[in-house]
Symmetry: C2
DNA sequence: GTGAAAGCGCTAACAT
DNA sequence: ATGTTAGCGCTTTCAC
């Protein structure tokens, strides 16, 4: 039988309340008593039952996830994961609420953040738009004592703020490595497509790509970045225009969303004229394109893992619990046709 | 305020005990009462507090992990993860015990399994050795009602038995894809190294490799598999012998452990004569080799994820709870120098 | 069949 | 500074 605070109290010769005070480091206990209780705890190997403690405290948690609206497949998956997670943790008395926010819109994000009543929310996770207004709203929220994590795209707003997502520089480096090796010693020109150079993740991916291209694959010539605003049609049009004025493109790296546009364009090209392509996020579209050989590799981040990780981090912050850091590292996943799930 | 069984009882006009009986589908309740309770549950949106339920049931869990002994870095990491996990879940009244078992030894594994008293253990996770004796012991254990999962290397012993680990055929396919692309149109002969063709994971990796090599990279010529028993020295010796009698090896796929032996040998080779290499499991050694350019890619499985997944599955089985299947899928991770964490 | 009441291990008033 | 006691939400005897 595992020891309880009653056992500890008896062993230390004090009351339950004193044991509780010591365990929770509450004031009002003599130093000597503290020592006796701690000795008893050590002797018995006592470990406090978290469930019982939380039950007694009748704590309820409410966490809010701010996720961009719009057709972006990855964001929709992230939202679905957050909602599913909410169902899963409900029996443990924690509520997860998903709030939609217009994408690429710092003002809207700031407004949504300011609308949160600090007393009523135990923590906030949000997909960042790196604008000054948003940063300010985050600072206010954190100042009010609400734990905050940024998801997928970071907004560094405080020295100790946490980011849940991949290392986007590493992702860009990986893309360059793959394209560099796949293209071989001949190299070639490479088209770079982003959603917007105003979101941090795309900027960082580009940086990583250039680093490796320059240092290790000098025969790789990246063209200036074109922007597709994470929209399929716009991306396709911009890319088509680029290919028209820049013949002989050998490689393609889509750092943003809008993969449907890229894939449609690739499919329309004669096989001999198709660049080798690397894209982000495994979705039904990119998976099909991998299988069809239209895309050679996909760099991926696991939305479910990110949602769970964000919740674990917020929960730990809310209850002052420790964290298994290794579990929270989001992987830069690489999928070829053969290991795609 | 979230509803409790008291609210449900009041709403349905019955007692707490009846509500409890209905919620837990225990017999001895009239059909009409059941309906009234269920209606009240639905009306109030009642969700049972799991922590309180477990507390009241005063349930303790004890799970046993059977992990091969020996110097295999990956297995040591798996053990460390299992132990760390044990610390983490102790406050929730679940104990995780790690038991060492000699590797590649079906008899020893069977003996360890038979030594488990079915009544005293809530679930067992084990790294499989696919021998008949082990399979029989697993059947006995499962028949005694103990939930079982196989880890890393499967032992199919029952139609509904669960396996926690990567799809090793996909891993082998991925290795072939990478080597095929990296070597380019010239192709070349490829050395295949395994620990033992008696463990299922290595056999499956080989199968996957051959599939892709034949179908997609006909210029890739895999040599017959050599075995190193997951031992660095033995692996190095066997590989050196192979290279001596088979000059001009262009690629290398180590499906097993013993990476230290492979890496030492590669380092000793003149740079021009080094095959491009793909290995399994990211460890300090393989990470360093990636950075040094001695290995081009590592196929990895996350030991921490596997340990946590095994525990979640066993726990769910023990308490009859549902599972988030997506969370339990172990990824075939691919690491190049640039995305290695 | 159904209900009342006593806990599970811990916390939080409220005494002392 | 320390102890007593009444719960937290649920399960489980044991009566009725």
């Amino acid at each position: 039988m595992r020891p309880t605070i009653r056992d500890v109290a008896r062993e230390a010769g004090v009351s339950l309340a004193s044991v509780d005070r010591v365990l929770n480091r509450r004031p009002g206990v003599r130093a000597g008593t503290i020592l006796r209780v701690e000795a008893a705890v050590a002797r018995l190997g006592f470990v406090r039952d978290l469930a019982a403690a939380n039950l007694s405290r009748r704590r309820d948690y409410r966490f809010v996830f701010l996720i961009p609206t719009g057709p972006n497949t990855f964001m929709r998956e992230l939202e679905a994961e957050a909602r599913a997670l909410g169902e899963q943790v409900r029996p443990a008395r924690v509520a997860v609420e998903v709030v939609g926010v217009p994408p690429f819109d710092g003002e809207a994000l700031a407004a949504a953040l300011d609308a949160l009543a600090p007393g009523e929310v135990s923590g906030v996770a949000l997909v960042g738009t790196d604008a000054a207004v948003a940063r300010d709203a985050l600072v206010r929220l954190a100042a009010a004592g609400v734990p905050v994590v940024t998801l997928v795209s970071d907004v560094p707003f405080a020295p100790r703020s946490r980011y849940v997502g991949i290392d986007n520089v590493a992702a860009g480096r990986t893309a360059a490595s793959l394209l560099g090796r796949f293209l071989g010693p001949r190299g070639g020109t490479v088209a770079l497509v982003a959603g917007s150079m105003l979101v941090r993740d795309h900027v960082e991916r580009r940086m990583g790509f250039e680093q490796v291209a320059r240092a290790e694959f000098p025969r790789l010539s990246p063209l200036p970045v074109i922007e597709g605003r994470d929209d399929a049609a716009a991306t396709r049009a911009a890319l088509a225009a680029l290919m028209a004025r820049e013949p002989g493109i050998a490689g393609l790296y889509n750092m943003g969303a809008g993969n449907r546009g890229v894939i449609d364009l690739l499919r329309a090209l004669p096989e001999s004229g198709r660049p080798l392509a690397v894209a982000h996020e495994l979705t039904p579209h990119t998976r099909a394109a991998l299988r069809a050989g239209l895309i050679q590799a996909v760099i991926h981040q696991d939305a479910g893992h990110e949602a769970r990780s964000a919740l674990r981090i917020l929960r730990a912050a809310a209850e002052g619990a420790p964290l298994n850091e290794a579990q929270e590292r989001i992987r830069v996943e690489v999928y070829l046709r053969d290991n795609a799930p």
